[in-house]
């Protein structure tokens, strides 16, 4: 019997010929990620009674959730992290401003095909877009990984999601993933390994693929794999921190479910308050008044997202009733957006351009919502209270839909604002 991607990676890491679904294995991840929560993790680590991080070279720490620090408490946390990193000799440290962890790890060459990566952040699934097995864990587990380098994992069953067709601007992989989550539900792939495949995935850019893997967690998946190909290898050329061996599922691998989607007649999608699986075509909520629009986050803050938004915003003005926040996902993205003139377009349109980081996505700072306000965001979560007030509403959509809606002040189908690429 052939093995799925998840089985092959877990078997290889455990030093076994094969692993069965449900089998628990003890493994050592190749890389582990933590972010601002490293302050808390380092304190838990000290409680274990081990002096030194066992494999400092395997840990990557990125400050992104509350950068730059907006309160004294956040500032203290960051200071403690800098001290911990220095004391433990953790070289892979990216301080405030470098970017959002899920953008920084790929850019710095850690998101490698066949690698096993764990992070104390649920969107660690993002690296599946590069053919890695990557999943989120908790803070205590990360502290134990610092101390021992080891963790137990259970081998998940796998779903194959086959996507045919080709996405045409302004329809994006965000519309596709919202459609998938809306159809299968917030627990539709609970504790399953998803393998995304098919013509539409092959045609997609790596940035578009990252949206799918990033949001695999929103239907409960443990990880979201996409087979690495020449686009992946070209991206990693000059970036990869070490040599890597791509892992592909066996042709006769067994899948618990095979789901098929066609992008041919895909309309722009939106997730309505207060769950990510509460999805409908944009058309159904068109005209809903918004107060804030956000383009950025680990889901949609990449260069192709900013380019798409700039095409729509170019020569237009953000509605007076709307605050449009734009957060490039990293310094690299920001620099390229600057050089291409995208930032100028945003500022001329009246957008508020913020530093690379998570921004208000999780409600910690930089543009939280007041009671009764409505935000349309390119992020991945719209839970009640997530961006500030529990009496605010969050809708999720693609960068195209958010840009078009920022101009009109109401939720708008981007096809109305976007005609043939240039206005």
């Amino acid at each position: 019997m052939g093995m799925s991607f998840a089985q092959k990676v877990l078997a290889a890491k455990a030093g076994l010929e094969s692993v069965a679904i449900g089998q628990i294995v003890e493994i050592e991840p190749d890389y582990c990620l933590s972010h601002d929560n490293t302050a808390a993790i380092s304190k838990t680590f000290k409680k274990i009674g081990v002096e030194r991080v066992k494999y400092p070279e395997r840990f990557v720490i990125v400050l992104d959730h509350t950068v730059p620090a907006s309160t004294e408490k956040y500032a203290l946390g960051h200071k403690e992290i800098r001290e911990f990193v220095h004391e433990q000799g953790i070289a892979n440290f990216y301080d405030a401003g470098v970017g959002i962890c899920h953008q920084v790890l790929p850019e710095k060459g850690f998101a490698l095909p066949g690698a096993l990566i764990l992070g104390s952040d649920s969107h660690t699934t993002t690296y599946g877009a590069f053919g890695a097995f990557s999943a989120g864990v908790g803070r205590s587990e990360m502290a134990v990984l610092y101390a021992t380098g080891k963790i137990w994992l259970k081998t998940p069953a796998s779903f194959k999601i086959v996507v045919s067709g080709k996405l045409e601007e302004p329809i994006t992989s965000k519309d596709l993933v919202l459609k998938i989550i809306g159809m299968i539900g917030a627990d539709g792939a609970l504790y399953r390994s998803i393998e995304f495949t098919g013509r539409a995935i092959e045609e997609m850019s790596l940035s578009s693929r990252m949206v799918l893997s990033n949001m695999a967690i929103e239907c409960g998946a443990k990880n979201g794999y996409i087979a690495p190909d020449k686009k992946t290898f070209a991206f990693l050329d000059g970036r990869a921190v070490c040599e890597y061996t791509p892992v592909y599922p066996d042709p006769d691998a067994k899948y618990e479910k095979v789901l098929e989607f066609d992008t041919t007649r895909l309309d722009p999608q939106v997730a309505k308050p207060h769950t990510v699986d509460n999805v409908s075509p944009v058309e159904e909520v068109a005209g809903t008044k918004i107060h804030q629009a956000l383009i950025g986050t680990c889901t949609n803050g990449r260069l192709e997202d900013l380019r798409l938004a700039a095409k729509i915003l170019s020569g237009n003005k953000v509605a007076h009733s709307v605050r449009l926040l734009i957060l490039p996902a990293s310094q690299e993205v920001l620099l390229r957006a600057l050089r291409e003139g995208l930032i100028e377009i945003f500022v001329e349109a009246g957008a508020l351009v913020l530093n690379p980081g998570c921004g208000p996505c999780l409600g910690a700072h930089q543009g939280v919502l007041a009671p009764g306000e409505v935000c349309l965001s390119t992020a991945n979560r719209n839970f009640k209270g997530r961006m500030g007030s529990r009496d605010a509403e969050i809708y999720l959509a693609s960068p195209a839909t958010v840009a078009a809606s920022a101009i009109t002040g109401v939720i708008t189908d981007p096809r109305a604002e976007f005609v043939g690429g240039a206005k």
Partner: protein, 163 residues
Amino acid sequence: MIEGRVWKYRDDVNTDVIFPGKYTYQPLEPAEMAEHAMEDLDSSFAKEVKKGDVIVSGYNFGCGSSREQAATCLKAAGIAAVIAKSFSRIFFRNAINNGLPVIELEDGVGDMEKGDTVSIDFEAGTVTHEGNTYHFPALPKEVLAILNDGGLIPHVRKELGKA
């Protein structure tokens, strides 16, 4: 064996409503975390929860963020166990790692209401409610060992000979 009063919730209770993100990066002690437990879902919870109470919920309990405080705050609030039709995997791990028992059970959950009493027999693997007894599967031995040691940190300290 425990007997507890039920707090009943729906499907897809996410970690943002269990423990809001605005507190996630603040250094709080477990008792302070308990004050914010369920803040954006049920404002009466933190005020009225008693030690030994049990949460009963639908599918996908604890979905969303990996924030461990979602488990820590419930444990600190006195919750003795969470019974749900299913759990998100990171919350499940976090609960075990905090010594908070999690019970996956579909049968009978629909009949359990807020304020009811349920008894849980961990050795027998049963939940009893109004005379009906429901069976839940035993946890894998590797996982049970962590729970029995009171959580991951005491478990690892024991394994490393630090306890």
